[in-house]
């Protein structure tokens, strides 16, 4: 069958050719559902049950859990025990929880500040699903004071270090070809660290999400999709370089910082930790290199002051949004998705900065393996690894 014959078919015929298999599929489904030919496999086993706690809120009315069901049949939460004591609860909305559906369980339990609690959900079949509240603290609520405070933290973690890094721009401006190679390689190195860090955090988060979201596949595929999409957009009009490349780097780093903000906000909401000043400063130091990386490809261009402001906002601002999102509407699958998109963006800029580095040198491939470039690359990774030690405890 050639293209010619296909094109020559009248539209009605082609429509019919599409509809026929669709109708057959529908018929087959109806037949399978009505006759239940799989009945023979019914061995009397109870249905498979899965419950995932996506969000925990502690406040003056007790403990609220958002749980998503992922069983083979609708599930019933029959009883709730907190710290091995059966407790009253209400479910919103009430009734059996269909596969993929999420409900709120409200438990008027007098939780104790700073202590651990264990919630056990008992279904009608007697299966249990435990949920650990590591450290009970009141969940932040979206008040102005709260949002402002989080914005300040986000700014310290995201905006400040990027701005500081960009301030090295005038000093970097005068470097020669070798210096330029070093700085670009340094940028790729720190991006490589961020890529690995982002992917592993996304995978870890996705493991906490309900099975229905297929965490691992979601992370890899959305990272790949975001990488391809950004590559296509970036090369729409030739290879990105100069200020354009700086903006792509800022976007990738911004998505990473969004994830970082999510992590801090989420940890804060989950009460798994307080936020020490030392830690915030560690974040800031860790992220200073990001500003240097953004500045590196612009050394041959003439950016104005507004460009720097925009780059700072693009790379650092998402940390504030992440803080808000993480503490107010935390759900592992969405956080994992955001981080995966960020990973794709980081990979894209790694490719583009490397390509830019190669283009900058007449001897092309040889430059890529030159000592200066290798030292820059490994130095970038080492610096990020060392400063990360300050914030991973």
């Amino acid at each position: 069958m050639t293209d010619q014959t296909q094109h020559s078919r009248p539209p009605k015929t082609r429509l019919l050719l599409v509809l026929a298999p669709l109708a057959a599929m529908l018929g087959a489904f109806v037949w399978i559902a009505s006759l239940d030919p799989l009945r023979g496999f019914n061995n009397g086993a109870p249905p498979v049950e899965a419950l995932t706690v996506e969000r925990t809120i502690l406040d003056g009315s007790g403990i609220s859990l958002r749980v998503r069901a992922g069983g083979s049949e609708a599930m019933v939460v029959a009883q709730v025990a907190v710290d091995d004591a059966y407790w009253t609860f209400t479910q919103e909305p009430a009734g059996p929880i269909a596969r993929g559906e999420a409900v709120w369980l409200r438990i008027p339990y007098p939780w104790v500040l700073g202590e651990a609690h264990h919630v056990n959900l008992l279904t009608n079949t007697g299966a249990t699903f435990g949920h650990e509240i590591g450290v009970a603290v009141s969940t932040p609520s979206p008040t102005w004071g709260q949002l402002r405070l989080q914005a300040v933290i986000g700014a310290i973690v995201g905006l400040l270090p990027v701005a500081l890094g960009l301030m090295f721009y005038p000093a970097m401006k005068g470097v020669g070809r070798r210096g330029m190679n070093f700085l670009l390689a340094l940028t790729v190195g720190l991006l490589a660290f961020l890529l690995i860090d982002t992917i592993s955090e996304a995978l870890e988060l996705s493991a906490e999400a309900a099975a229905i979201f297929q965490g691992s596949a979601m992370v890899w595929l959305s990272a790949l999709a975001s990488f391809l999409l950004l590559m296509a957009i970036g090369r729409w009009r030739g290879n990105p370089e100069g200020i354009a490349l700086a903006f792509y780097i800022a976007l990738g780093i911004g998505l990473h910082n969004f994830g970082e903000g999510l992590a801090i906000g989420g940890a804060f909401a989950a009460g798994s930790a307080g936020l020490g000043t030392f830690l915030v400063l560690g974040f800031a130091l860790h992220n200073v290199t990001e500003g240097i990386g953004i500045a590196a490809p612009m050394l041959r261009a003439r950016p104005n002051l507004w460009t720097f402001a925009a780059l700072t906002l693009l790379a650092g601002g998402p940390a504030i949004l992440g803080m808000w999102a993480g503490s107010l509407a935390y759900a592992p699958q969405w956080s994992a998705l955001a981080l995966a998109v960020g990973a794709g963006a980081i990979l894209q800029v790694m490719v583009e900065v490397s390509a830019y580095l190669v283009r900058q040198n007449a001897d092309r491939q040889a430059a890529l393996m030159s000592p200066v470039v290798l030292v820059g690359f490994l130095g970038g990774i080492a610096f990020m690894y060392a400063t990360a030690a300050l914030i991973k405890i």
Binding site: Q79, Y86, G130, E132, S138, E204, I264, S272, G276
Partner: protein
Amino acid sequence: MPVDTSKRGRDVSSAVETSRPTAPPAMVTEPVSASRRALLVGGLVAAGGAAVAASRAQSQATPDPMAGHAMPGGAVDPYSAHDSGMAHGNMTMVGQVDHARNGFDPTAMLTDWEIGRTEVLPDGRTLRTFEVDAIDVEIEIAPGVFFPAWTFNGRVPGPALRAKEGERLRIVFRNLGSHPHSMHFHGIHSARMDGVQGAGLIDPGEEFVYEFDAKPFGCHLYHCHALPLKRHMHKGMYGLFVVDPDPARHPEFAAVAASRVLGSPENAEWQELAMVMNGFDTNFDGENEVYAVNTVGQAYMNAPIRIDKSRPVRIYLMNATEFDPINSFHLHGNFFDYYDTGTQLTPTLRTVDVIMQCQAQRGILEFSFADHEDGLYMFHAHQAEFTELGWMGFFDVREAGA
């Protein structure tokens, strides 16, 4: 009839609130997940300097996290939570068990003694015959929580068999279940009648007749002795086996003995209750999810046991809890005499308010509320964990007819 079923479902929440035992410390069964957010461990002190950054961040790391979190309705203090409807009286299961669907009612079970049928043997002795069937039944052990039980006569605990010292007993046992089962009696009998492999352990569809004399008198039990024992026991195959003392054989304590003979005029003065402490491992992980006395968690919270304060109370108590080595019984506002295993006519312990029983241990409790105010008197295991997972109840003490 000491039990007034019409009291079922009355609101006892206020009483629960005032008499609730102290909660145990949080049971952390899994390592506290610091997860990826471990990066944010608190307690790191400001390094000084960095003025704005430090002071802002510090306010989030403050030891009082409530400070920065304005709550709708004011500051949060879990200890004052009683005002916001978060009272400790909320420590209860949600909903009601459908006893009719279960086919047995914990309230009726308290006084439902299985006495079988009797005939006189040529030598003048009494032959007492019981019929017991092993049946698989799904039972509701807590509101909305179903457990695939193996039962004697469709109920958990199995029928409370009651005989008199010296009688000849014949127990016709049919296995209508899906696994091999037996009836192993704690009593004095021959090896052939022991209910172990080769001595009355029968396959599904088979029948066996156990035959022995009722001795010694006391508060005993029977249970399935098929292997694995733990699974057969915790699935529900146990019951009380009470042998009343024959007053003629204990002339020095004839009056005491007579009061324990079911149906005697002396016995009619007493309010006798059959209680089996048990637990259910609903997810089969070797730990009980629900604890109870007579199977249904918190049954006697929802339906307090009616006690006529003018008459003494006698409880035949047995511990059939699997997985936990001991269980206990604590009575509020009163003390009791305890007859361990019930094989003596004088108390083993006098004037106690807590007794403990290891697995299969049992005994008789005797007490009186004659001089008490009317009211709801709690009883429960004094392992607070068991209490809060269902093993608690109330005696509703009043004048007869009040």
